[in-house]
């Protein structure tokens, strides 16, 4: 068992086109590190230079925005789904 990370179209050029990637459980920060190890350059797309989450990117753990959980310290455990999506407006 592992954690599934859903990759939006805009980042798939960094994941060889893969739309879903399996990683080991850990904090969201750890997961982004694992993805960057496999797909060099990935981290720089999601995090700003000071290591915080890019403001136009939302990360969801089982559909809940991690900004309102423990941000990058939010823990994903086996069987969880993590999704990365660009922010959108409505109205």
């Amino acid at each position: 068992m592992s954690v599934a990370v859903r990759i939006p179209t805009v980042f798939r050029k960094y994941t060889s086109g893969e739309s879903q990637v399996q990683v080991d459980p850990g904090t969201i920060g750890d997961l982004i590190g694992q993805l960057d190890h496999r797909f060099p350059g990935f981290k720089g797309q999601v995090l700003t230079d000071d290591g915080s989450l890019h403001r136009f990117i939302n990360v969801y753990l089982n559909d809940e925005d991690i900004r309102y959980i423990e941000r990058l310290d939010t823990r994903a455990t086996e069987g969880d789904t993590v999704a990365l999506l660009p922010s959108v407006a409505g109205g």
């Binding site: 939006p8 179209t9 805009v10 797309q45 890019h54 403001r55 136009f56 990117i57 939302n58 969801y60 559909d63 809940e64 925005d65 900004r67 309102y68 999704a83 999506l85 660009p86 922010s87 959108v88 407006a89 409505g90 109205g91």
Partner: protein, 313 residues
């Protein structure tokens, strides 16, 4: 009730209990029916506030055309307010907005400029900003105009507290962030322990497909710190719960309403374990503008496909 103008009939919407949709006996879910506004959505409140702010500041004059990017509801509301106040109105909207919204805009005499559907509302924002460089346009800009927030602070939020001062949780959809920021501020001033939760759509891959990170957009009026949680909802769940609203409680609401109800239920389960209480859901519009998606009449797979093909948020 008697009103001097349709504009005076905006707001004071019903707050209705929906007991069959609560997952726990100690949690009561209430829905605020914004579809009861004159053009059928919460945006009537915002449109009136935007036009009055433009008039008050002197920026909106008779010779200027009101211009606004919108996925539909704000456009219809602005078209109504502008027709009464005597302004021309141009809406910039994605070319995949639902057919009913386009027909309503035309009925109110609005001009429509289409932006690329695949770029969603973000694409309309960019195009309208470019057009607004021309001085003949006055762009109220709901995403960056405090009047949007104030309309909800003085109106929607005040009404909720008058009807239900014991409210524990407020749930609404995140579009411009105006509702969540305005109502959220009002509620938290009343009682800082009230939780404010956003429902956010997971739009189809089509909508995200052509985006680059630079196309991402966070509306300037949205205060992310007002939220205590944000939950992503798929079209499928939204349709399913919009149907439940109709079949179990007789409420014919728009598709985003289902998303809000679904998030309210997740939240209610937690609230139940913490002693229970009252949850208020803001249902932004009624179902009329979504009839062409057949969200109520098709099997769920077909309905999902049809809803995802239009901009439903």
């Amino acid at each position: 009730m008697k009103y001097k103008s349709i504009l005076d009939a905006i707001g004071q919407t019903p707050l209705v209990s929906v007991p069959s949709l609560s997952p726990a006996d100690n949690v009561r879910i209430w829905v605020k029916l914004e579809g009861q506004n004159p053009t059928g959505s919460v945006k009537d409140r915002v449109a009136l506030a935007l036009i009055e702010a433009g008039e008050a500041s002197g920026e909106l004059t008779r010779d200027r055309i009101v211009l606004e990017p919108t996925s539909g509801n704000t456009g219809v509301s602005l078209a109504m307010v502008c027709s009464i106040r005597g302004y021309r109105f141009t809406a910039v909207m994605p070319d995949n907005a639902s057919a009913e919204r386009v027909s309503m805009l035309r009925a109110f005499g609005a001009e429509i400029v289409y932006s690329e559907g695949a770029k969603g509302t973000n694409g309309s924002v960019a195009l309208a900003q470019e057009m607004a460089r021309d001085e003949k346009y006055h762009m109220p800009f709901q995403y960056g105009n405090d009047a949007n927030v104030t309309a909800h602070y003085n109106g929607t939020g005040r009404e909720i507290l008058e009807d239900l001062p014991e409210v524990r949780v407020f749930v609404a959809g995140l579009g411009t962030g105006g509702t969540l920021t305005g109502v959220g501020r009002r509620l938290k001033e009343h009682d800082p322990s009230i939780k404010v939760i956003a429902a956010e759509p997971q739009l189809g891959e089509l909508v995200y497909g052509l985006r680059s990170l630079e196309d991402g957009y966070v509306p300037p009026i949205f205060d992310p710190d007002i939220l205590d949680g944000k939950v992503m909802v798929r079209a499928r769940e939204s349709i399913a719960w919009t149907r439940e609203l109709l079949t179990k409680e007789g409420i014919f609401a728009g598709i985003s309403a289902g998303a809000v109800i679904w998030v309210a239920q997740r939240t209610a389960e937690r609230l139940s374990s913490q002693g229970g209480g009252d949850v208020v859901c803001l249902l932004a519009d009624a179902g009329w503008k979504y009839i062409s998606t057949e969200a109520w009449t098709q099997d769920i797979d077909t309905a999902e496909e049809k809803v995802e093909a239009v901009l439903w948020w």
